[in-house]
Symmetry: C2
Subunit: 478 residues, 2 copies
Amino acid sequence: MGDLIDQLRTGLPAEAVLTDPDVTASYAADMASFCERGAPAVVVLPRTVEQVRHVMRTATALRVPVVPQGARTGLSGAANAIDGCVVLSLVKMDRVLEIDPVERIAVVEPGVVNAVLSRAVAEHGLYYPPDPSSWEQCTIGGNIGTASGGLCCVKYGVTAEYVLGLDVVLADGRLLTTGRRTAKGVAGYDLTRLFVGSEGSLGIVVRAVLALKPAPPAQLALAAEFPSVAAACEAVRSIMARGHAPSLLELMDATTVRAVNSLTHMGLPETTEALLLAAFDTPAPAADLAAVAELCRAAGATEAVPAEDAAESELLLQARRMSLPALERLRPATMIDDVCVPRSRLAEMLDGTAAIAREHGLTIGVVAHAGDGNTHPVVCFDPADPDETRRARDSFDAIMALGLELGGTITGEHGVGLLKKDWLVREAGPVAMELQRGIKAVFDPLGLLNPGKVLDPGLDPDLGPGEVRDPAAGGAGE
Amino acid sequence: MGDLIDQLRTGLPAEAVLTDPDVTASYAADMASFCERGAPAVVVLPRTVEQVRHVMRTATALRVPVVPQGARTGLSGAANAIDGCVVLSLVKMDRVLEIDPVERIAVVEPGVVNAVLSRAVAEHGLYYPPDPSSWEQCTIGGNIGTASGGLCCVKYGVTAEYVLGLDVVLADGRLLTTGRRTAKGVAGYDLTRLFVGSEGSLGIVVRAVLALKPAPPAQLALAAEFPSVAAACEAVRSIMARGHAPSLLELMDATTVRAVNSLTHMGLPETTEALLLAAFDTPAPAADLAAVAELCRAAGATEAVPAEDAAESELLLQARRMSLPALERLRPATMIDDVCVPRSRLAEMLDGTAAIAREHGLTIGVVAHAGDGNTHPVVCFDPADPDETRRARDSFDAIMALGLELGGTITGEHGVGLLKKDWLVREAGPVAMELQRGIKAVFDPLGLLNPGKVLDPGLDPDLGPGEVRDPAAGGAGE
């Protein structure tokens, strides 16, 4: 370990190498529950590509695993440290290098905070859509690692659709450039897209070329109250089937509505079983909202009221944004799931989740990116109570099983990390797993990059600290 | 070879196995110039996934290379046969299996013709944007193989953005399912996107889940005449910088305009140096066109006239669509390039292409998806004249060199195939090439899938027919 620190220091300034265990322990985990975390040997905070290359060369020479990190707002444990690892935090590489309104691109370092980029491009009349809930904290590098989504996705898609090209430091320290800065380009296999969502297991993203959109008009929202979740889902179905393109279409269940009221005293309608929020950023949003209000009423909404102006709209969206903090206050801990199902199965997913909550004797509030079929059941529990904790974990798994049964996926936007590794195997099946492990072995033959995450079987428990699997044994390819 | 045919026939109906050399020769090549073609041992036309699996199992057992084909409208030689291969034509797998307006997806077999799908989804009020020039002939499988684009891309992007999930028969006959039918999904590495643009070198796509958009309003177009290419490109720059979202933004140079007039007697303005076509499919296209006309005039347009109605619009677009047929009449043969540069370098690209035409003593007409910076210089030549042919080939390469020098890519939407293999190495560089070859080896360890295309070094010339490289020698990984 002395070797490791000494060698890291030959290419990094003193302040970029943290070894105080109290300090390094604070880098041990992201925001996921139920995920093991280890004790890092060292945390490094490089500021340049060359420094990142030095870190990876050192890690490869000494066979030390590396865990890349952004703001650690992830919800799957992908950023959790493992014992004896180098935590490679990219947060100091936080420059917006370029914003170009003609090319409609931004070039950024990985540590740029999502909201910082969003505001910077807005000054040029441009729009970077991906807007995870944690957008004021999370970094673009982390967003790329997990292929993050947000409220915007129903109209604008996820992070993957905005990544045109990358500079990546490979496990052995070599620098790879993928993709392009042009609007189109199909030369060779799409390595860029392979890195998006790979959770730091294939390489370290050190620069990204991102696509931007022209800034749309400010969005205008409506809220609709429904006497049942099924009725709200029927409204979602008909809104999407009629070809509407809302800029958001969100659902809050009764548990969530009451939790938000309790936290904010916003006075949301407590008698509603489901609150649907729709917004449009079209040139004539009032007309679109009127059409959607009509569809909501036809589906059984008891109220469907468009906001009068941007301020009232913002208040409605504020209620949605407070959902997670509000649910987090119900019990000492929460666990946020991320199952995405076909839109037409949304009601079954929500009703099934309610049944799972009852069966497990738990409070589970649900917020959903309803227009995408992407639900976030929030399982509320007390980690001090072993039985409740077990039920929480069981219900979390039951929710994923239900999602797969309904033709959905175990993760719409949060990624696999540690939390859903076993579930990835069930969703992807053995053929896809074999190919994915083969790809991992091509990029990271020594198994040093974020080992044990996504699909990696993890470090061999028989190996001591600093040792890795013998790559010749083909551990990543079975 | 008798073995091969016999074994293929055990799992395919008689009419699906073509061996008459006159017939199989007609499957030897796509529409690219300057690409070698071989003589297939056999052409198979499966109608089911199980039949495709049988073909691949047979090919693997006998170590026979397989060249997958759609409509052979490709422009890079990716579908060209190699001596002794199985040509695997997917054109008989041409069913649209499902169109779902709520999920906004279509599920199709690979042989569905692009225009057939487009018309089928239009009946449901939906829109499948990718619209290559060959859309009346080309298949969705071929579009996926080359990540095809079209006129729509400036607003709607390329094929890659519409492929949500795939069923793929692997080289050894195993069936892989990738991706999802949900709006979002980030479980594991993005294998779906890896197949898009892989030109049949990683597996045989036998089913695709495609994303659809709500059908937009009919588009309305304008034509603007410019006294110079530079002025037209300045208009493109300012249209994009101002945040406009045209549904197409196309440029025709003077050579192309005159060629179209000569073919169609459309009476396009022969004195113009560049004709720019813009269209909008927004709710109020006339207002958008008026704004764009103003920007065109500010950039130096001598005329900028919006169409009065859809019929007049259609006539303008017809002129654009006739560009390739018109240029093809100028000389006995043409060679179509596909260089995409940053929008702000478009004028340099076009002026540089004109200079290359002068230097090589050739006619090169240019049509461009100007809004994307994607140019299609069409090199016109007489293949019966060896010197002119040599100059044509040289100019083609000079155009790609210029594209790379301007920060562009050698292919915006046509792919690499045989034609641009050497250029892919220059664009991607050695690190990316090594990784791409590693991926190829994971999916196709025996090197049987479309060998010699994209990045594969090709069959070892020392091997006899039906033999392949020894995979243990790692031929695909050097």
